[in-house]
């Protein structure tokens, strides 16, 4: 395939930078990430504030811009508590294990095309690999170790549950996430990020592969443990989750890791689905030079900020899902849908490669549509039947309630009821399931 060849050629531009350029790039990425964390925190609090009829932090520096810095300093000078029965080595290692991999992923993020830095032609990207996107996935998996180890080492039930949830969640959402990448790979024909950006020169994959993009948006929230999927640290249940027992700088590291992870998935979404550093359509048509020189960096950051805004917006509007619902969504919805979508994408690609005729296309699409219609019809019938069954069950319940006069008035408690271990009840009524489940039954009806 031609794209393959192209991608392979592209990568020859990498790995040739002199050492000082690499240092500059590494420093840039680090500074970019730290700054983006500080600014995201500020933006998050300001935007959340405005969405909640408040102002948000506005005291430190202009518009409160230095709030993040102040918070960082405060965290740094706070007392570093180490609980007595922690597993000390692991406890100290965990924050570092969580935040270091988060930074690495950004090495393959393309900020722009080739530019000239001090007379040296180079890509605005630290490096690229033939399997660059896999590096991101690998690093995300590495990051989980930090959370799990933190949960384990803290020796507290809240932290343990948080760590367990975190590992289960990240692992299961990573599968769905990887599956959405497959569609992108099929279209781009490469795993290298610069190649994927080049493949989106005419049309963003977010448009071509809408289902993939939507699933990715969900998984990226799940992957970064943000609302509505912030179960590992859901303060309503687990106080602070895996970082309950952490304080001071170690806590700050987790905080940093979370926000850098956000940056990573945002950058990835821009690269994989939103055309990377390429200017959005109206700008690039009006202004042909938009995609050359240093300008692309601006487009990249603009798109990056937009995706970040979605994160913040979601946080303002959503409650937290329950753990089993999260798993259900991941395993029973996102993964199957992804797989089906990949099959569809693969079929389309195969047909295109085989230079299929219009008739073949029509047949395939028609068959697909017909199958979908039949499935929809069957599903609807089943749903209808379920509804009817529900209604009849409800009516029956009402009938039994009516027939039973003992469903008493308020101040007089019914004397024989499912409680206090009343023996009379068993004699008078048909045996019922255990209390815990009987409650569920009533709702179903």
């Amino acid at each position: 395939m031609s794209t393959h060849v192209l991608a392979a050629e592209d990568l020859s531009g990498f790995g040739t930078d002199p050492w000082w350029l690499i240092v500059i790039k590494v420093l840039f990425i680090f500074v970019f990430l730290v700054l983006s964390v500080l600014l995201t925190m500020w933006a998050e609090r300001r935007i959340l504030g405005r969405m909640q009829l408040r102002l948000g932090p506005n005291r430190h520096g202009p518009f409160g811009l230095l709030q993040g810095l102040a918070d960082g300093l405060k965290l740094g000078v706070k007392e570093d508590l180490v609980p007595k029965n922690v597993d000390k080595w692991v406890y100290i290692l965990a924050p570092a294990a969580a935040s270091a991999p988060a930074f690495i992923s950004f090495a393959i993020m393309p900020f722009g095309p080739q530019v000239s830095i001090f007379g040296h032609q180079t890509h605005l990207q630290l490096t690229d690999l033939p399997v660059a996107v896999l590096l991101v996935l690998a690093m995300a998996s590495m990051g989980v170790y930090g959370f799990v180890l933190a949960g384990w080492a803290s020796g507290s039930p809240f932290a343990l549950l948080g760590g367990l949830r975190s590992s289960a969640q990240v692992i299961s959402y990573e599968i769905a996430m990887a599956l959405t990448f497959v569609a992108v790979f099929l279209y781009a024909g490469t795993l290298s990020t610069s190649g994927i950006v080049d493949a989106q020169e005419r049309l963003w994959f977010a448009v071509v592969l809408i289902p993939s993009f939507l699933i990715y948006m969900v998984t990226m929230v799940g992957e970064t443990n943000r609302i509505p999927f912030d179960l590992p640290e859901g303060e309503g249940e687990l106080v602070g989750g895996y970082h309950t027992e952490y304080s001071s700088m170690k806590f700050a590291m987790f905080f940093l890791a979370e926000y850098v992870n956000m940056s990573t998935v945002c950058g990835l979404s821009v690269t994989l689905f939103l055309g990377g550093w390429r200017a959005p359509a109206p700008i690039s048509t009006i202004w042909p030079d938009a995609n050359t020189g240093w300008w692309p960096m601006l487009w990249f950051i603009a798109k990056f900020a937009m995706v970040m805004f979605i994160f913040i917006w979601l946080r303002a509007a959503m409650p937290r899902v329950r753990y089993d619902q999260l798993m259900k969504l991941g395993w029973k919805v996102l993964i199957p849908v992804s797989i089906v979508w990949i099959i569809v994408v693969a079929t389309m690609r195969a047909l295109r490669n085989a230079e299929a005729t219009t008739t073949t296309w029509l047949v395939v699409v028609g068959a697909g549509l017909a199958a979908a219609l039949v499935a929809l019809y069957l599903w609807d019938r089943a749903a209808e039947k379920r509804r009817e069954a529900k209604e009849t069950a409800k009516e029956q319940e009402f009938a039994t309630l009516k027939a039973k006069p003992t469903a008493g008035g308020f101040p007089v408690p019914p004397l024989r009821a499912a409680h206090y271990g009343s023996a009379v009840r068993d004699a008078l009524e048909a045996p019922r399931p255990e209390r815990g489940t009987s409650a569920k039954e009533v709702t179903g009806a």
Binding site: R50, M51, L55, L314, A317
Partner: protein, 194 residues
Amino acid sequence: MSNHEAVKRVPGAGLAKGLAVTFRTLLRRSVTAQYPEVKPALPARSRGAIALLEENCTSCMLCARECPDWCIYIDSHKETLPAPEGGRERARNVLDRFAIDFSLCMYCGICIEVCPFDALFWTPEFEYAEYDIRDLLHEKDRLREWMWTVPPPPENDPSGAVPKEITTAERTAGPLTPGAGGDRDGGSEGGAGE
């Protein structure tokens, strides 16, 4: 709202609604009052601190006794005034100490209500937080200072009964001329309590 539940829901409609509401709010002005710069406009009845009009106090101890958590401290001594021409000697209570411990005070206002001589008043001032809890014990000079911040009471609702202060005043001093009665009397004109 029960009909909401009956209507078949479009999946995701609730999520979209939430997103829409938050976005709409983002574009609206926030309601936050920037406190230290912008002072809150508190109503006259607001219970901020208790002010003492020392001149009116007869150290009768009613407030201290009625206080539900006994946070008022009063010390006084008797003073005998020299007999005026052809009269008798008179004893008078002199207030030595009047203190309210605001760290105990529950802000119920009973002391103000029971004071028969109008020596205690509410002021809406509230900015007297301290780093040391002991400093919340306000002595009489500090309580006297609050007096300057006591606002006039609000006019009463015209359909309410005429306050007994006004009826007694009218009984003893004859009908009040309109406008001469000050704030308290404003309600009685409209109310036509007579």
